[in-house]
């Protein structure tokens, strides 16, 4: 694993953790984007919440911001607005993005913020030792719900489809090639890309068997949102791949037009001039 996209930080994921698959697929995706699409790694900026998933920030030798639990998608939007030329990826946990910080996820989708969110969806708060999350099944026993979770899980893909995400996909950490493909497409997509990665947590929610037996690659995205919604309801088989993709105006262009705040900053003299003329009128 010691390649030039990997830092010197000791990797402390549990042996067998699904996060390794996400890590490897993501590195592959970065290399493919460099080779095939001329997107340099300097231009790929990452952010992460707090949790097992978020350790990927320390392992990837890419620039960015190790944010707060639940806030990585807000951080990411700030980064994007600062310099729309950058490709921004937020790594998020299911606790992180569907619990603590779900408002940022919903609003990033609603705005069609041009960024990619990768959910390490292990159905559990891994790093805080196994409590239930918004995607844990009802009845899930964790240390905060020893008698079983009293809540139904959410369907993240559906949530994203109704709130306006323009790229909605599911991956499985155990299917490296397919996951790499999805990451590449997500990062190339202009608009809000959402990838829900099924990620077994060997310590608290080992879903390898389940997913290995159920996961099935979609042949193509759904033709429209309704069809995509129906795909998300399947439980016999679990489709992976791109469920839905659409083109739509992106937020930073709606807000800023073509102006790039980093590159096209006003000089001090321009600022003083405009203030002077406003003061003259006041």
């Amino acid at each position: 694993m010691a390649d030039d996209l990997t830092t010197y930080e000791e990797n402390t994921w549990c042996p067998g953790c699904g996060n390794f698959g996400i890590f490897n697929a993501f590195k592959n995706a970065v290399k493919r984007l460099e080779m095939e699409d001329g997107i340099s790694r300097q231009n790929i900026l990452i952010t992460a919440g707090i949790g097992c998933h978020a350790k990927i920030f320390d392992y990837l030798d890419l620039s960015g911001f190790y944010s707060l639990h639940g806030r990585e998608i807000a951080t990411a939007q700030g980064m994007k607005l600062a310099n729309p030329q950058a490709t921004i990826v937020a790594f998020a946990g299911d606790g992180d993005a569907f619990g603590e910080g779900i408002e940022h996820l919903i609003f990033a989708a609603k705005r069609n913020a041009d960024m990619t969110v990768i959910i390490h969806d292990n159905g559990v708060y891994g790093l805080t030792t196994g409590q239930f999350t918004p995607t844990s099944p009802e009845g899930f026993k964790g240390p905060s719900t020893p008698f079983g979770s009293p809540e139904e899980p959410i369907n993240p893909l559906k949530l994203m489809l109704v709130t306006g995400a323009t790229f909605v996909a599911r991956g499985f950490s155990g299917r490296l090639k397919e996951l790499t493909d999805v990451f590449v497409q997500a990062m190339k997509h202009k608009g809000f890309s959402f990838v829900d990665v099924l990620q077994p947590c060997v310590s608290f929610n080992d879903t390898y068997k389940l997913y290995n037996s159920k996961v099935e690659l979609l042949s193509q995205p759904a033709a429209n949102v309704d069809e995509a919604m129906r795909l998300t309801e399947q439980t016999e088989k679990l489709p992976i791949g791109v469920f839905y993709q659409a083109e739509a105006p992106v937020y930073h262009e709606n807000l800023l037009g073509n102006w790039n705040p980093t590159v096209q900053r006003a000089t001090r003299q321009q600022r003083l001039q405009s203030i002077k003329s406003l003061l003259e009128k006041a």
């Binding site: 190790y66 607005l81 600062a82 006003a266 003083l272 406003l278």
Partner: protein, 556 residues
């Protein structure tokens, strides 16, 4: 004899154009070479209720409105009731005779505001214009002069001019030229609100992007900057919540933008986790805290200084914080730029603490834009084998580089090594703690070189105050003819103790808008100077200079 000090109050329901009338009155006085202070009192509602604007002016640099008015224009009954005791001796009450049939009003001039306005569309909205017409007559302006003012200050000029002329004619017989105001040849200074001052100052200092969620009384910053985003070439975003705002601001700052947020207490409270992030990640961000009476939702549209403790101690854990509070619109302008530079220099969070009274009041300012600071962080200029975001340096300040960049730049909320990767090593944890503590020392050294405390006056008893209450105190001293020294710390955290050495044998009077005397406690805690008397106001209203002068005299 020409009047030096003149106060005009316009009162009416929300939606009657009263706030606008206050601004136009200010314009009229400014045109006469006078200096103006205008305070708006409005409720947390959109239409109805009772709004009023108090506009005091003089030929000297006046620093407060006065609650005793020479001329009150009460466009409804409620305004009359509210202000009938607010007349100076010789003061005149112009009241709406439609609303107060059969009442005998001493010193009153009745006008059928309602009846006359009904002749026009949107009649309600015009009452403020009527107040201006009455003012014009009272200070002896001609109808032509009034027409000019209305044309330059209002839309729908035709109807407004006609309406104004009717009112003018109605009041003129009793009111014309009752007051002769002293004029001056001084240059006409622009009249701006505190929110405009802070906004412009921040832009002058280098603000690139502003993120804010609306909350009274901080919203005027959002509205002003959003309205002028294109003039200034800055970005302005109103996101889903305060938490989003501050985290976006910090995200954008990590890319090299100079960012700012603003809110009132409740919204700022939601930003605390991210303030601590700014401290750890060493990403600069400036927050404008506009206070209103608290705790909690409190009284949204009024003023208070109850957030001091809160402002000084935001965010968990130990890291350098910078808090400053301006006393006037001019100081607010320069301080906003200076604070933007301070947070950039020390790569941390800064809070500009201010009050509704400063943010929403308006006064003339004499500003030299060239004198503003320009925010310039210490940038990395090469030399290391590998860029180290958190390089351990002597003063704790690690040079910045912003992505996208050739080298990797890692910002983080975790404790970290120099490169920015998480660490649990006891040695590294201690080193990074010390690094941030060294920044605090460097910050104090820097503040020692700066102007951190204002001292007004050279002799007489000592008064400590801060924020916009300083203006109230200064005006009180003037109107009460009191000689005193007024000491106002601009910087409150780190607290400039060194500047207080000179006062350590004295017992000041402490004036603040707080019930528990938080500022007095701060002074005592930090300097061990004990107040000999406390003057506190906490009913949501700013001090009236005459009342305050009285209170000061009582404790002198």
């Amino acid at each position: 004899m020409e009047k030096e000090l003149f106060t005009f109050i316009a009162g009416g329901t929300a939606g009657a154009g009263i706030r606008k009338a206050g601004a136009v009155a200010g314009y009229i006085f400014t045109q006469m070479g006078r200096r103006v202070f205008e305070m708006e009192d409005y409720q947390s509602l959109i239409k109805g209720g009772h709004n009023f604007a108090v506009v005091s002016s003089a030929t000297y640099p006046i620093q407060s409105h006065y609650m005793k008015a020479d001329l009150v224009v009460a466009t409804d009954k409620r305004s009359y009731d509210m202000h009938k005791d607010h007349l100076t001796s010789g003061g005149i009450m112009v009241y709406n005779s439609d609303a107060m049939k059969d009442q005998q009003i001493p010193n009153g001039v009745g006008v059928a505001f309602t009846t006359i306005s009904r002749k026009y569309t949107n009649s309600e909205l015009r009452l403020g214009v009527g107040a201006i017409a009455a003012l014009a007559a009272a200070i002896g302006m001609s109808k032509d002069e009034l027409t000019e003012v209305i044309k330059s200050q209002y839309r729908d000029a035709e109807n407004n001019v006609n309406f104004a002329m009717e009112i003018y004619d109605a009041v003129a017989p009793q009111l014309y030229a009752k007051f002769a105001l002293k004029k001056s040849d001084a240059k006409h200074l622009p009249m701006i609100s505190g929110s405009e001052a802070i906004s412009m100052g921040a832009v002058a200092g280098g603000l690139d992007f502003f993120f804010a969620y609306p909350m009274t009384p901080a919203s005027p910053l959002l509205h002003y900057l959003a309205g002028h985003a294109k003039d200034f070439n800055i970005g302005v975003m109103h996101p889903e919540s305060e938490i989003a705002a501050i985290n976006m601001a910090i995200g954008a700052a990590s890319m090299g933008l100079k960012t700012m947020v603003s809110s009132s207490g409740g919204g700022m409270a939601l930003m605390e986790e991210a303030f601590s992030l700014s401290g750890m990640a060493e990403v600069p961000v400036l927050a404008i805290l506009g206070s209103r009476p608290g705790p909690s939702t409190g009284v949204p549209t009024y003023t208070e200084q109850g957030d001091l403790r809160f402002a000084l101690n935001q965010g968990h854990g130990e890291f350098p914080r910078i808090v400053a509070s301006p006393y006037s619109m001019e100081e607010a302008f320069y301080l906003a730029a200076e604070m933007l530079n301070m947070v950039q220099q020390f790569q941390t969070v800064g809070t500009l603490l201010t009050e509704k009274h400063l943010i929403e009041s308006r006064m003339n300012v004499d500003i030299d834009v060239e004198k503003t600071q320009w925010a310039q962080p210490v940038m990395y200029t090469g030399g290391d084998e590998k860029y180290l975001r958190y390089k351990l340096t002597e003063d704790g300040i690690s040079p910045l580089m912003f992505p996208p960049s050739e080298q990797v730049v890692k910002f983080t909320s975790y404790e970290h090594d120099e490169y920015g990767l998480s660490t649990e090593s006891p040695e590294m944890i201690a080193k990074m703690h010390e690094k941030r503590a060294r920044k605090e020392e460097a910050l104090i050294e820097k503040l020692k070189q700066m102007h951190t405390v204002n001292v007004f006056g050279e002799t007489g008893p000592l008064i400590f105050t801060y924020g916009s209450t300083t203006m109230s105190v200064l005006e009180a001293l003037r109107c009460g003819n009191i000689q005193a020294r007024v000491v106002q710390p601009i910087y409150l955290e780190p607290f400039p103790v060194w500047e207080f050495e000179q006062f350590k044998e004295e017992s000041p009077i402490v004036v603040e808008q707080s019930v528990m005397g938080t500022f007095e406690t701060l002074i005592k805690d930090k300097t061990n100077i004990k107040a000999k008397a406390s003057i506190r106001k906490y009913d949501g209203r700013p001090f009236d200079p005459e009342e305050l002068a009285q209170s000061i005299k009582e404790v002198l």
